[in-house]
Assembly symmetry: C2
Homo-oligomer: 220 residues x 2
């Protein structure tokens, strides 16, 4: 294994960091709004990819927020909308991220992010987490204008890292993302962040299952 590529949202960065702000703006609806926002954001990446109507992850995340607020009949003002979108640039990294990446880097592996996010969105959260120096590349699907789990996206990593599928491991906490990467020819490591979470039935299960990034070093 020469390189390890990480998904960003849900794997390195906690998308539910936004819940507290959701609840401050819409008391009693914070959790429901955050859950719907995330689910809708993912659904829009899939729908737009299949429609052949790409829109970048920033715009699509805002569309998902607008729809989710409407579906809950919440009055999303322009300032609340801007504040919630801004919070996406300040998502918190999970506690195992920095130490885990340091351990893997010490093994001599090339490390990268492969994400649906735009370069601007990814740079912001990477800087905030203090992990910029641990990464060889930050790869956005914005290069190919289609979202995961299109095989074109996963093949980007091989181009960027100059490594073939058998030399590249893909790490994600999103199980559908694991199926996509495995189907595209990469070795996969599923971070099962919730104990008992059922894997998807999509035909390309994870090569390895771990519960934290700090466990990866034991396998490599």
């Amino acid at each position: 294994m020469k390189a390890l590529v990480f998904d960003a949202y849900g794997t390195l960065f906690d998308v539910f960091s936004v819940t507290a702000l959701c609840d401050r703006l819409f008391p009693g609806f914070g959790n429901e709004l955050a859950q719907r926002w995330r689910a809708k954001q993912l659904q829009y990446t899939l729908l737009r990819s299949l429609m052949g109507r790409y829109r970048d992850f920033w715009g699509l995340t805002e569309d998902a927020l607008v729809h989710s607020a409407k579906s809950l009949q919440l009055d999303l003002t322009a300032s609340s909308r801007a504040e919630l979108m801004e919070s996406y640039l300040h998502l918190v990294a999970f506690p195992d991220v920095k130490l885990g990446l340091e351990q893997l880097r010490a093994l001599g592996l090339r490390l990268a992010i492969l994400s649906n996010g735009t370069n601007r969105m990814l740079s912001a959260v990477v800087e905030r987490a203090g992990i910029r120096d641990l990464l060889d590349a930050i790869i956005s699907v914005d290069y190919v204008k289609i979202f995961k789990p299109s095989p074109h996206v996963y093949r980007l990593t091989m181009v960027h890292l100059n490594a073939d599928g058998s030399e590249t491991g893909f790490v994600s906490a999103n199980n559908w993302d694991i199926h996509g990467a495995r189907s595209a020819g990469l070795k996969t490591f599923w971070i099962q962040r919730s104990a008992g979470e059922a894997p998807e039935e999509l035909g390309y299960p994870a090569t390895y299952v771990v519960s934290a990034i700090t466990e990866l070093v034991g396998w490599l």
Copy 2:
């Protein structure tokens, strides 16, 4: 307008007809299981289309059932699984369907179904609803091996019905399906089956919004 094409699941046939059986097999979990099953089924159509790993709607509906039961930690026996899958062949038509189609047929319009379902699944529910004679065509995505909202799927209707986009109306209660059809060049009619349901933010809103199929005749 020469032809009207209808989505099947959720538009003509109630996918939540399965809820009672879900609740008989798993008391107290019927509604949650039925909701998850439907959401996962749709998600799998999108994920597999984008992965380039088509599997027909029957197989994928069964995969979605298996995952949904596991996610609720329900013990899905082989016989319960078979019984639930069988129930998908007996979905009930909404009360406005037969009368609405008869009214539209009387206007001289060609009528068809365009659905993610397989031919076998669609034939079963069409026979049960007694609407076979009202339809000129039952078109399954299985011809093109990719699911909605791929534009290839919607363009199938023009081939089958020998009508171009401006002569073909597409009717669906699934709002994302409306965006897909409009993006592919069809006129669209959204059946808003739940009052207050928020439309999707995908850039291609419905040409017309009605609350039942029997209202379409007034527009045509």
